[in-house]
Symmetry: C2
Subunit: 394 residues, 2 copies
């Protein structure tokens, strides 16, 4: 069942955080080495026939890596093809999707996907200035919280979602992040901490927002029929989808649903031949606490408008009926744009293979049906989403 033309045989992550002491090149190299050195039956880098680098903000963050060669030249693989994908918040997961297409095309048997982002070397103000400079509308002061906050307020108005429910997402994810050695934030917080945190943009306090973080993650994808060369426990790409939406907020059909997510999820479930009820866990895009609530709805975990209750009833915690963001999510790990999607694949890989206890005994979720879902949504106008379904079922 499922697409299963491509298998994930190894992943690597670095500790996310404010990595002022590491260059972009060092972050990428560390993630790559962690990945290939962890592959069960060993790995010869010469097997890699092509690569994809997910990195979103090279110029605004000043590390000037304007081409895929910034990856390959840096890890001793100068020579092989390398595409750089830049696609807003789903940059890493879309690089992963393009890597899957590359393998499935029959042109490249083994490929490397790396996602990485330096978010802290330059100020956020410079980032936003550069990102919108010259644009007639966007340069008038748009920030990311101000894109999401009005939608959250509308969701509260329409469905009775509460600030307490938003806070429950943050508390759950920070509790999970405290068990994740790769996470940026590793301290648990309380509902009161969230509700009393400094206001960023109504209804988001500071602890409703993910931190600004540096990070890198890597993955090796191979033709499914070649997977046994590298591991006896491959994780298959059961399906994926990508959805887009209109670019400007005033064009949107709904303010309480991300149509891009709904479209991406529909494709991914169809390709995998499963539904949300078949998932053992999900790593979803919680750039803000409210984002995870709307994700529950858009991904079909609960009916429309019931996202707040879903977290309140404990369904999305580790041990609940569908653990969401067992890694700690973006609220704990941070959101280095290029790295985030690939890091989510790392968590699903470890969880599905039940290897999380090596990191922390309490973070492992129960694996029953063998499916995990990855999700990102974002980009200008929140117009862009990728959903990927990984599986241990051949």
């Amino acid at each position: 069942m499922g697409w299963n033309k491509v298998a994930l045989v190894g992943v690597g992550l670095i500790k996310f955080g404010e990595l002022f002491d590491k260059s972009f090149e060092e972050m990428v190299e560390e993630a790559y080495l962690n990945c290939i050195n962890s592959i069960d039956k060993g790995f010869d880098p010469k097997d890699i026939k092509a690569a994809w680098l997910g990195e979103c903000n090279s110029r605004t963050h000043g590390h000037a890596s304007i081409s895929g060669a910034a990856l390959t030249g840096n890890i001793g693989l100068a020579g092989i093809p390398c595409t750089r994908v830049e696609n807003g918040c789903p940059t890493g997961s879309d690089a992963f999707r393009n890597g899957c297409l590359g393998v499935a095309s029959g042109v490249y048997d083994v490929v490397l996907v790396v996602g990485a982002e330096k978010m802290r070397d330059d100020s956020t103000a410079n980032l936003l200035n550069s990102a919108t400079r010259g644009h007639p509308v966007l340069m008038r002061g748009e920030t990311t919280p101000s894109q999401f906050a009005p939608l959250a307020v509308r969701h509260m108005y329409e469905f009775g979602t509460t600030k307490q429910q938003l806070a429950m997402v943050a508390v759950k994810n920070r509790a999970n992040g405290a068990l994740d050695p790769y996470s940026h934030n590793q301290s648990p917080i309380t509902i009161e901490d969230v509700l009393n945190s400094p206001m960023v943009c109504l209804p988001f306090g500071l602890f409703d927002c993910c931190p600004q973080t540096d990070g890198a993650a890597a993955a090796i994808l191979v033709r499914a029929d070649l997977a046994k060369k590298y591991t006896d426990k491959p994780v298959y790409i059961a399906g994926f989808g990508m959805g887009t939406d209109t670019f400007y907020i005033h064009e949107k059909e709904s303010f309480t649903e991300f149509v891009a997510t709904v479209r991406a999820a529909k494709q991914a479930y169809a390709m995998a031949g499963i539904g949300p009820q078949d998932l053992d866990l999900a790593e979803v895009h919680d750039c803000f606490s409210w984002t995870e609530i709307v994700d529950y709805e858009d991904l079909g975990f609960c009916p429309k408008g019931q996202g707040g209750k879903f977290v309140e009833q404990g369904h999305s915690k580790i041990g609940g009926k569908l653990p969401v963001n067992a890694s700690g999510g973006l609220l704990s790990k941070g959101h280095p744009l290029g790295a985030t999607g690939v890091a989510q694949m790392c968590e699903l890989f470890w969880q599905l293979r039940q290897e999380v206890p090596k990191q922390h005994p309490k973070r492992q979720v129960e694996i029953k049906k063998g499916y995990g879902l990855q999700h990102n949504v974002g980009g200008r106008g929140i117009s862009n989403s990728v959903v990927t379904i990984l599986s241990i079922n051949p």
Copy 2:
């Protein structure tokens, strides 16, 4: 013969130039409409299942299109997947390559590739500042002419290549560009014009350099077995290759050869099952006059060091043994980074289908063996190359 899993069934281009009166959105829309409206048997946009947008410098040029949704939302296709590829000078051709992989994967039967770039809305100085800001080495004043010029000087020293031979490339391409209604520069020039043009960076005078240009181009790729639905004259993707090289100039093995090009060409020829002797024409990367001379050598059109003589003997002019840049090349058309590679595909499509006389009777090259080659090289450290071979042979 050749890979031929994917077919090109339609292309569209806009007039390149200083398009201050057109937004990014308008350029993209015009190229897209020119493309789908020119497809022989008609085209329903609903057939498009995924898209790739090649665009290199969104933030530095201030139009803030940070995701693929900037394409799809803008042409009435909000919903379908769209990846934005950013990969230095081969951005457009690499978006095209990823589109080919997407079709060949079996996931998407029909895809759209659009390449576009706004180069003139912001100053070149701002562009370079933004591109290198924060980088410990690159921010010390690197410009593109200063990357290529020392290599050209070395080539002149090692192989006796002359400034006159460089000028012959510019004269040939500007003569061709004068026959191309889509070209930025449409006036022929003389050897004296080139030699007397203001010095930019030794040995490059102004007319040895391509202009700064806005532009957009579009292409529709389909599964080869579905091509007849759209046209009786499909152009097949016979092969492609991508090569990378070390990122910094001091790490390079050679200063008179672009290893990335050599690697990309080797893959493309092998995939197509042909050699340079089978080509009817080539559209190659002539960002500077000398670049085309080294391209001849790297692509196997002539032995190492003989590139200067190749142009001097007239082999690369229309009517010569291998016409190169019949479109006018980058020296005439300009080099809107995302658009360039896709625009080269447009020229090959028209030339191989012998449709150029509709534009100008004197620009059509003779089609004997039915193969055309596309080439880009660039990116930071000139570390990145894509070569694509198109063919009318099923």
